[in-house]
Symmetry: C2
Subunit: 218 residues, 2 copies
């Protein structure tokens, strides 16, 4: 299949690229610069996609800031919460409706190129899953994408029932350089080790029993 | 209900604003500047929303050009087809997956503001309906939007089974200044009268039996 992969440069979507490539699909990668503070993630995305020889486009959507002025991800005025995931934290660290937005862009590109599908790295959380990472959301988007254009486009979410530790194990098995992927929301030179995504990343390696190559500040 | 209306400044979405306002809803209007050539439409949107005292935001998404370099709507290198609607023409004059993109943005804003719904002016075409204006697409997006966040958001498409002439009649009944709305894809000072949307607009007034206040060049 010809598939557009929603690709952030993070651990999950990097393993997704390798996973779909391993299955023999023809991939292109789409990243979005929506003004997130962790632009380090986009640099990682560009490097890894280039290393795989994939066409990769970064769509500049900083205009989204017009709507999401209050999100810690897109504003430097709000501190990133340095605690475990909880609903309150997710509400401040996420762009509302982010996955539908990203999928819409991927579907648009796929429609223009007559591709068969788009894919995203939604997975189950260890304590709480994002609403737009649930299997029922992925299924709803698959249904909508099949109707959005004259040619049906599928929405694939092969990790949707996996935990992050499962993704780490799959990445290890596929020989992914997991240390080159970027998770930290703070966006310094090294992973901070304290924000919710760093804690989540570290816990996933521990749970998977895979040695964590990430350099953390703390 | 508190509703975000996808608002282009065109005839259909302007009548939708008046229609939902007449029903007593609390509205906000969202327009997108995705690099369309008919920016005149965005000026009309701002004027009309201001006249109604509505909060109106224009999200700048010209970064979409990275994906849609080949569309006549966003490129000055491709002539706008000056014929009746037909599938071939629609494919060159539309941004792929446009309605899902616009709805995604509206749902994001609605989620951030704890609104109840978003609305768009999809309607049936006289000869051929766009794929993402079909009732089944609107229903699929409604289903997805109810799952995208913890609070369900509805997707409303009250004109989805109407013809454009029905919208003209509704606008006339509600006292909308239809002459202030903008349809032309060419984007001059006056409507060109020759492009597909101008022909569609003119035909809708004729079919509705409503006097057409639009100034056309031809």
């Amino acid at each position: 299949m010809r598939i557009v992969v929603v690709y952030s440069g993070g651990l999950d979507s990097t393993v997704l690229l390798y996973h779909l490539r391993h299955e023999g699909h023809n991939l292109r990668a789409l990243s979005v610069d929506y003004g997130q503070r962790h632009r380090r993630e986009l640099d990682a995305a560009a490097e890894i996609a280039a290393g795989l020889g994939l066409e990769h486009r970064i769509v500049e959507l900083t205009g989204l800031g017009t709507l999401f002025a209050g999100s810690a991800l897109t504003s430097t005025a709000i501190a990133v919460p340095r605690e475990e995931y909880a609903r309150q934290n997710m509400e401040t660290t996420t762009v509302p409706n982010r996955n539908m937005l990203l999928l819409s862009l991927a579907i648009a590109w796929a429609a223009g190129q007559h591709d068969d599908a788009v894919a995203f790295a939604a997975h189950a959380g260890t304590t709480l899953t994002y609403p737009d990472c649930r299997p029922e959301f992925a299924a709803a988007m698959d249904h909508a994408a099949r109707l959005a254009d004259w040619r049906p486009i599928a929405v694939l979410a092969p990790f949707v029932t996996w935990r992050k530790a499962d993704i780490v194990r799959r990445g290890e098995a596929l020989g992914v350089s997991l240390g080159r992927t970027w998770s930290c929301y703070v966006g310094g030179v090294r992973h901070c080790g304290e924000c919710a995504t760093c804690r989540d990343r570290r816990a996933a390696f521990a749970e998977a029993g895979v040695s964590d190559p990430t350099e953390y500040n703390h």
